[in-house]
């Protein structure tokens, strides 16, 4: 925790929040992704969701302000990725009414939500999509396409940003928890690839292949390695469960310990998320 806090303090000078979106990450994608992880069992679940929909314009205002500051500071993600961001936002903006990903929760209600409430919530969610979500996404897409992406950086690496070398070294320390130099890490990677490929080659020889390429080719093209139906995949999982189910039960810990495990995994997930913001 102390290491994380120290790095938060040290990393703040690189202003990672001024580059909040790319083709895989950012508010424009997080919001629709969040829907499948949100509970929709009770009326208050739906009202919470509605409250979030109403905050979407404000949330995009904040992100856009950070991006504008990034424009001023020369903190820009690669241009070719930003063009994808504009296309992604356009795509979401183009889906209105019930075809919007944000309408998914009101297409079908659980029986625990009474019918009059279903009607109220459906209407309110569709209205929020039409009045707030779609115009916000349209505005954001236009901003990215016309004002932001054209100034995207042309070099892919963060070394090309202001303080690039220090930024790169900080990212290494944060993500690898080592003080290694970029060249050392690259050399280590090459060495490990050699070692792994040597081990793979030994396996290939054992299986009767002359080289790795022919083994890889076999794995790729041998149809018996692939499931031919969804049922076959399910059967495979059921079989695994039948074979190992009792071991899984044994491995389950008392609830207090499970909570501790969750907390630990949570911290790891957070670190990963923070690292990705670099």
């Amino acid at each position: 925790m102390i290491r994380e806090l120290r790095q938060d303090i040290e990393g703040a000078k690189f202003k990672h929040w001024e580059m909040p979106v790319n083709q895989m990450d950012g508010l424009h994608l997080e919001l629709p992704d969040l829907i499948v992880l949100t509970p929709f069992m009770t009326v208050s679940d739906y009202d919470n969701y509605l409250a979030r929909l109403h905050q979407i314009p404000h949330a995009f205002d904040q992100v856009t302000a950070n991006m504008r500051q990034g424009l001023d500071d020369g903190l820009m993600p690669p241009r070719f990725l930003l063009e994808k961001v504009a296309a992604e936002a356009d795509d979401i903006a183009s889906k209105s009414g019930e075809s919007s990903p944000f309408a998914k929760p009101v297409k079908e209600f659980p029986s625990s939500v009474p019918e009059p409430e279903q009607n109220r919530l459906r209407e309110a969610v569709l209205k929020a999509i039409a009045d707030q979500v779609v115009p916000t996404y349209q505005r954001f897409a236009t901003f990215v396409r016309t004002e932001y992406a054209p100034h995207g950086r042309t070099d892919p690496g963060i070394w090309s940003l202001p303080d690039g070398a220090a930024r790169y070294r900080f990212a290494i320390r944060r993500i690898t928890t080592t003080e290694m130099a970029p060249e050392e890490i690259h050399a280590l990677g090459l060495k490990q690839i050699d070692e792994i490929e040597a081990e793979m080659l030994a396996v290939a020889h054992k299986l009767g292949f002359n080289d790795l390429a022919s083994l890889n080719d076999h794995i790729k093209n041998e149809r018996s390695f692939y499931a031919t139906s969804g049922q076959q995949v399910l059967d495979f999982i059921y079989e695994l469960r039948a074979r190992h189910g009792s071991r899984i039960t044994q491995a389950l810990r008392p609830p207090a310990q499970q909570q501790a495990d969750r907390d630990t995994h949570g911290s790891l997930a957070l670190q990963e998320r923070r690292a990705r913001r670099l």
Binding site: M1, I2, L5, R6, D8, I9, A12, K15, H16, W17, P20, L27, E30, L34, L37, T38, P39, D45, D47, N48, Y49, A51, R52, Q55, I56, H58, A59, Q62, V63, A65, N66, Q69, P254, A256, Q257, Q259, A260, R262, D263, G266, S267, A269, L270, R273
Partner: protein, 116 residues
Amino acid sequence: MTLSVRSTLGCAILGFTVALLFPQSSAAQGATSTPTSVETRRQQLLSLFDEDWQFTLRTNPEWATMLGDSRYNDRLSNTTPPNFSNPISNKSASFWPASKPSIPQGFHDQTPSAAN
């Protein structure tokens, strides 16, 4: 993790963390503080971890939702710069009251948090 033992006990251990973050400023203070029992300090540490965890959930409401904690399901994160730029001062209101440093001497290598 216990949610009860909070502010007063939390202060001491928070001071301990501040001491680790800023050793030059707080080291002298640490040497003169009254020693407390391992169990008390252990509870203080757990309390600190809990404060930190609760802060994380509160300020990352979408992530709390993903983890199945529904308390902040009606909110979205605040992403204005001050929210990122000074992590210590962000926490200061509830988090960093300067107080007597505590020392983790006598702790187990791995403190079982299931003890409560």
